[in-house]
Symmetry: C2
Subunit: 344 residues, 2 copies
């Protein structure tokens, strides 16, 4: 096996106040001295997932995961190939695995932290960073357990062209709901209607957006990825017993002060609920979700799109802001290395 003399990783340099800046992260170059010990493996990272939740990890507040500390490697999930196994490891060299590697080119982890991927026909390894990863699972459990979407519901999904949203739209259709996606460009809306099969797509940048929104009727389920003003608007249009699954609030993650919502008293009049959830709480049920989502990928009823950034790990910090500007079209992934070259 050929290993390099050095490797790179991305660490948090300073906490951003608002948007992520070029000074938020820095690249560290370290001498390559990685060696797996007992029950450990050395992996070479191939792809890293970029996720809106990353903005939250940079915030020094109480949340579902501890904040990333200054000087620490930025938290990230990814794919990797095992290039060396320690004594007693149950893994094998050459295996494709997924894990929370952080933004690094190489890392030594415990056996259990590297998950060998099952890749049947119709599925590709990258799906495990998207439809079969936290994006798809978030849509699955959010719609099923939190929003309890059912046949005949009017379902609205914000961030509908995003990695979670697009799965939520498709699962909503499969559940028999009438699905409306909200996205930020005419192109994304066209894609949602023509490729993804939503009943309607609304461009929130359109001057007629609010009127268009009223035309869809009262909302039974709102799968919210964006928060802020859009959530406030939806609150004024709830059907009785409406369910709002609060998945994320991408519109406010960069804000120094979160946008206010005013219309929450409609939750009372419409006896509606607004419920936040975190996908990690469903870990014990991931197999159920992966099975359902895999079936959808294999039979073609769940479609997906990737937006892969080439150029190595240094592209990760500069690409992350695309998520907040709406600049990505499809699941945002950074290609860190070429898997085929990693294999022995």
């Amino acid at each position: 096996m050929t290993t390099p003399k050095e490797y790179k990783r991305i660490v948090l340099n300073e906490r951003p106040v608002g948007e992520i800046e070029p000074t938020t992260f820095r690249t560290e170059v370290l001498p390559f001295d990685l060696k797996p010990g007992e029950g450990e493996v050395l992996v070479q990272v191939t792809y890293l997932s970029l996720d809106p939740a990353m903005r939250g990890y940079l915030r020094d507040v109480r949340s579902y995961l501890p904040p990333v500390q200054i000087g620490e490697v930025m938290r990230a999930q990814g794919l990797a190939v095992i290039i060396e196994v320690g004594p007693g490891s149950t893994h094998a060299v050459g295996e494709t695995v997924s894990g929370t590697w952080g933004m690094t080119e190489y890392i030594v982890v415990k056996d259990g932290a590297a998950r060998k991927l099952d890749i049947p026909k119709g599925i590709e390894a990258l799906d495990y960073l998207n439809t079969l990863g936290s994006s798809g699972l978030t849509a699955y459990f959010g719609l099923k357990d939190v929003a309890e979407v059912k046949k005949g519901d009017i379902l609205v999904v914000s961030g509908a062209a995003g990695s979670v949203g697009v799965v939520a739209c498709q699962l909503g259709k499969r559940a028999g709901a009438k699905v409306y996606g909200i996205a930020g460009s005419a192109e994304k809306c066209e894609w949602l209607v023509k490729e993804i099969g939503v009943d309607g797509a609304l461009n929130y940048k359109s001057p007629t957006f609010r009127e268009d929104f009223k035309k869809i009727g009262y909302v039974d389920v709102y799968f919210d990825n964006v928060g802020g003003d859009m959530l406030d608007m939806v609150l004024t249009r709830l059907a009785q017993n409406a369910r709002i699954a609060l998945c994320g609030a991408i519109s406010v993650y960069n804000s120094t002060k979160p946008a206010a919502i005013h219309a929450y008293t409609n939750l009372i009049g419409q006896r509606a609920k607004m419920q936040g959830f975190i996908i990690f709480d469903y870990a014990a049920r991931y197999p159920e979700g992966i099975q359902a989502l895999s079936a959808g990928l294999i039979d073609g009823s769940i479609k997906r799109k990737f937006h892969i950034i080439e150029g190595g790990i240094e592209q990760a910090p500069a690409s992350l802001p695309l998520l907040f500007s709406g600049g990505n079209t499809g699941k945002l992934i950074v290609k860190v290395s070429d898997a085929s070259k990693s294999r022995l």
Copy 2:
């Protein structure tokens, strides 16, 4: 039976923009020409309940009940005595009944709109406008079904000295929760601790309120009667899997613009839910609630206090604002007539 020549009722004169004004309602005097028809009864109203929800009925917006129209009798629940029965009525003259009479001294209603009260020892008729009426039932179903309060929970009740809040505090204690009540004066707080038995009472007008609030720890259940800034503060102090039962938002009912909440994204991080409810949805289960609450009144474990306004029905409009200024101590009731004098 002696009936008067005229009778009075209170009608909506104009919609208030902010607070209820002397011009919001007007008193109408009508010739007494009331006569029960087939399956109807004529009742003389004895007591009327004044409720925060009334402010909502004055607002011309989509809600769980249609708004009261200009010129219509103001909606109100109350007690009455049956003074005449029409042919085929199953009621009897002299019965004490409850119903949604509106703000009127007399009214003819269908048999089914007058509910004969069961008044065992330990219970008084007025309890049906309070602990055994919508106030107590709201606390019962809100805590049980919406908030799912359980042993060991930290339960915070706002408007704790109000008619709903005080029942919520006591039911919370019975469920084994640690109960903290929020009220607007030192006297109310003292009463909550000494008479009602909460574990702690916090005066939201105290300059140390926010620090006092932090000392109670993270909140598992928030039974919210007030909304607005206090809700926003509680949102920053949620425990994991917290439940917020949105019962009312008395702090914003008079506002031309509802207070904003900013901290709703904590619902995501703490995988918490915020759910509104309307007591009428539980109508089929009222007997269950009334039975449980009656048992508490009879065994003394649920205490109550009334604030009765004397002086007749004209006092109702002027007394209603007490609910929003915190001027009442106990369930606010207007005495419309003397039951004993109504009987034949």
